[in-house]
C-alpha cells in the first residue's frame, strides 16, 4: 500500500516537471532507437555476408592432394630401419587427383543421417582460346541439380539458363569477367584447350557472377560429363566431393572421420575459411559497444536531471519526511521516477527502433556479391529488443540509484531551518 502511495507521489512529481521528464526520456529513447537500428542493420549485414560464404561453401570437402608418398621404399627396408634416411627431390610419382572408388564413397555418404546432401565436382585447368591469345581458366564439372539445391547455383547465374548445362551437350556457363574478355554472348561458341592440347568447342549457356572479380575472370562451369570428356577421363572420375551437413558444428569431426574411412584428404569449412568468424564477431562486438555507449551516455543524462530534480524538490522531501515518510519511502519515490523515465523512454525507443529498421529495410541496396538482395538486409531478432529493454531499465536504475540515495539522506531539519 505504501508502495502504491509512493508510486502515485512519484507520478505527480514526474508530471509536474513533464518537460524535464521528456528531455530525460528522449535521451533514453534516442539511444535505444539507435541501439536497435544499429544492431538490426549490422546483424542483418553479417547474416547476409555469412550466408554468402556459407551458401557457397561445403561444410566438408573430400579431395586428394597431389603429394609424395610418405612411405618411401627405403623406409620399408629392414636393412636400413636403424638409420636416418635422407632423400632429396622426392617426386609425387604416380599419385592422382582422382578420388578412388568415388561411386561407393558417395553412396555411403548419402546414407549418412548427418548429411544434408553432397555434390560431386571436377576441377580442371584449361585454356580459353581468343584469336591467338590463350587465357588460362578453370572449368568446374558440376552436378547441376545438386549444385542448385545445396549451393544456390541459380542465385549466381545472372543471365542464361542453368538447366541447359544438363540438357544440352557441350554447354558452358562463363564467369562474367571471363565472358567479357572472350567477347562471348549467349549462344556463341568458345574454344577450350585441355592440358594435352586437345581442342573442344562449347556453347555459352549463361553468365555466372560470384562478386569476386578475380574468380569471375577465370571460372566457368560445365556438366560433369562434359568436363570428363575434356579431360579424357572415364565416367567415374571425380576430384572433389562437397558435403553439406545438417549441423555445421559437426564439420570438423565428420571431416576427420571421412578422411580416415575413405582414405582421402578432408577439409572442414572452418579450416578453409579461418578469417570468416573473426570478421563477423568483430562486427557484432562493435555494434554492441556503440549501442551500450549510447545507453550509458543517456544514463548520465538521467542522473543529471534527477540530481537537479532533487535540489528542486528539497522542500517537498523535507515535508514528506516531517509528516512521516521514511528515508526508504523517499528513495523509492525517486527510484520510481528514474525507472519511470527508463520505462517510458525505453518503450518509445523500442518502437522507434523498430520503425527505423522498417525504414532501412526499404532502402535500395545492390551488391554484385549478392545479386538476389535488393534492399538493406535488416535483422529483427527479438533478442535485441529484449537487451534494449533490459538495458534501458538497468541504466536508469543505476542513474537513479545515487540521486535517490542522496534524497533519502536529506535532513529535514536543515531544510526547514534554512527558511
Amino acid at each position: 500500500m505504501s508502495v502504491k502511495l509512493n508510486i502515485s507521489i512519484a507520478r505527480a512529481l514526474l508530471l509536474a516537471r513533464w518537460k524535464q521528464t521528456m528531455v530525460a526520456a528522449v535521451g533514453v529513447t534516442f539511444s535505444i532507437t539507435m541501439f536497435i537500428a544499429l544492431l538490426g542493420f549490422m546483424t542483418g549485414l553479417n547474416i547476409l555476408l555469412d550466408s554468402l560464404l556459407m551458401n557457397r561453401t561445403p561444410h566438408v570437402r573430400l579431395y586428394r592432394e597431389v603429394r609424395a608418398n610418405p612411405n618411401q621404399p627405403v623406409n620399408l627396408s629392414s636393412q636400413y630401419n636403424r638409420h636416418y634416411n635422407f632423400i632429396s627431390s622426392v617426386k609425387s610419382g604416380n599419385s592422382r587427383e582422382q578420388i578412388y572408388n568415388s561411386a561407393t564413397i558417395m553412396q555411403n555418404i548419402r546414407r549418412d543421417d548427418r548429411v544434408l546432401g553432397l555434390a560431386p565436382k571436377i576441377t580442371s585447368q584449361v585454356f580459353f582460346n581468343e584469336g591467338n591469345i590463350d587465357i588460362t581458366g578453370v572449368v568446374y564439372g558440376i552436378d547441376v541439380e545438386a549444385e542448385i539445391r545445396l549451393f544456390y547455383f541459380n542465385d549466381y547465374v545472372i543471365t542464361g539458363n542453368t538447366s541447359d548445362l544438363k540438357n544440352v551437350a557441350n554447354t558452358i556457363i562463363l564467369g562474367k569477367g571471363l565472358a567479357e574478355k572472350l567477347l562471348a554472348d549467349i549462344g556463341d561458341i568458345v574454344q577450350v584447350t585441355n592440358a594435352q592440347g586437345e581442342r573442344f568447342r562449347l556453347k555459352v549457356a549463361g553468365y555466372y557472377q560470384s562478386g569476386v572479380q578475380s574468380l569471375d575472370k577465370t571460372q566457368s562451369f560445365a556438366s560433369i560429363q562434359t568436363v570428363q570428356k575434356i579431360l579424357g577421363k572415364p565416367n567415374n572420375y571425380i576430384t572433389d566431393i562437397l558435403v553439406k551437413l545438417k549441423d555445421v558444428n559437426q564439420a570438423a569431426a565428420i571431416a576427420g572421420e571421412y578422411a580416415n574411412n575413405y582414405e582421402t584428404d578432408a577439409e572442414d569449412f572452418k579450416t578453409a575459411n579461418a578469417q570468416f568468424e573473426t570478421g563477423s564477431s568483430a562486427r557484432s562486438v562493435i555494434s554492441y559497444a556503440v549501442g551500450i555507449t549510447l545507453l550509458i551516455v543517456a544514463g548520465f543524462g538521467i542522473y543529471n536531471i534527477l540530481n537537479m530534480m532533487i535540489y528542486d524538490k528539497m522542500d517537498s522531501i523535507a515535508i514528506l519526511k516531517a509528516t512521516g515518510f521514511s528515508g526508504k519511502d523517499v528513495k523509492l519515490i525517486f527510484m520510481v521516477i528514474a525507472l519511470g523515465i527508463g520505462l517510458f523512454g525505453g518503450a518509445l525507443g523500442l518502437l522507434f527502433g523498430f520503425l527505423v529498421s522498417l525504414l532501412l529495410d526499404q532502402v535500395p541496396f545492390h551488391s554484385s556479391a549478392a545479386p538476389a538482395v535488393n534492399t538493406y538486409p535488416i535483422n529483427y531478432n527479438p533478442v535485441f529488443y529484449f537487451i534494449g529493454a533490459v538495458f534501458s531499465l538497468v541504466t536508469t536504475y543505476f542513474a537513479g540509484f545515487f540521486p535517490a540515495r542522496k534524497a533519502s539522506k536529506v535532513d529535514p531539519v536543515i531544510i526547514i531551518r534554512g527558511k
Binding site: 500500500m1 517537498s316 515535508i319 516531517a322
Partner: protein, 226 residues
C-alpha cells in the same frame, strides 16, 4: 489523572560549528494530555532546536525523549518516521505544502501514509477539518494559488488528519498578519477547548503566549520559568 503525552528529560545539544557551543542545556519538562503549552524566549535562545528534537526529526542530542510513555531516543529512522506520521502534527512557520498536489491531496497525504482509513473516509475527514478551519472552498486549488493565512490553515488541517496526540508548531503565526494570526490562534484554542487536543507552540508573540494554558520561558538554552 493527566498523563504526560510528551516528556523531555535532561536534553542537551551542542553545535560544533566552528567551536562547540551548548545550544540546549538540561531541558526537562512534560506536556500533559489536553494541555495547550507555549514556549517563548528571545530569538536565538534555542526554541526551534528544541522543537526539532521533540518532534523526533533531530536525533543528535543527549538526554531522553518520551512520547506517550515510549522512549524515542536511539530509535531507527523509519520507526521515528511512523511515530511522526501517527502521533505528531507539525505546523511550521512557513507552510511547506506540496505544490504538485491539490489542497485536499496535501491534507490527506499523511493519512494515506498511515493507511488506517480508506480514501473515502480520509476525504470526508479532510472536508470536515476544512469546514472547521473555514477553507472548504479551497479543496481543489493548488497551494500556490492560496494566501499565506489560507496556506497555514491547510497546514493545520494536514497536521490534524491522523488525529495526532500532540500538535507542535514553530512560530506558526510568525509569518502572518494580525488578522490571520488571530484566526490561527482561535483555531488552536478551539481545538484545545473542544477536542482536548494537546498543543506545544513556539512563539515570540507574548500576547499569543499569554492566552495559552501554560508558558515555558527559555533563555540561552535553559528553561527559566514553566
Amino acid at each position: 489523572m493527566s498523563l504526560p503525552i510528551l516528556e523531555a528529560k535532561q536534553i542537551c545539544k551542542q553545535f560544533k560549528d566552528p567551536v562547540a557551543i551548548n545550544v540546549l542545556n538540561d531541558i526537562s519538562f512534560s506536556v500533559n494530555k489536553g494541555e495547550f503549552v507555549s514556549v517563548i524566549g528571545k530569538s536565538g535562545c534555542g526554541k526551534s532546536t528544541l522543537l526539532y528534537i521533540l518532534s523526533t526529526m533531530d536525533t543528535d542530542y543527549q538526554g531522553e525523549l518520551l512520547i506517550d510513555g515510549e522512549r524515542m531516543t536511539g530509535r531507527k529512522d523509519h520507526e521515528l518516521a511512523s511515530v511522526r506520521n501517527e502521533k505528531i502534527g507539525f505546523v511550521f512557520q512557513f507552510h511547506y505544502l506540496l505544490n504538485e498536489f491539490s489542497v485536499l491531496q496535501n491534507i490527506i497525504l499523511p493519512g494515506q501514509k498511515l493507511n488506517k482509513k480508506s480514501l473515502g473516509e480520509l476525504e470526508n475527514r479532510a472536508m470536515e477539518l476544512m469546514k472547521i478551519l473555514g477553507i472548504q472552498k479551497l479543496s481543489n486549488k493548488k497551494p500556490n494559488q492560496l494566501s499565506g493565512g489560507e496556506k497555514q490553515r491547510v497546514a493545520i488541517a494536514r497536521a490534524l488528519i491522523n488525529e495526532p496526540h500532540i500538535i507542535m508548531g514553530d512560530e506558526p503565526t510568525g509569518n502572518l498578519d494580525k488578522k490571520n494570526s488571530e484566526i490561527v490562534f482561535d483555531i488552536f484554542n478551539q481545538l484545545s477547548a473542544e477536542l482536548g487536543q494537546s498543543l506545544l507552540i513556539v512563539t515570540h508573540d507574548p500576547e499569543f503566549a499569554a492566552r495559552t494554558s501554560r508558558i515555558i520561558e527559555m533563555e540561552d538554552g535553559r528553561i527559566i520559568r514553566q
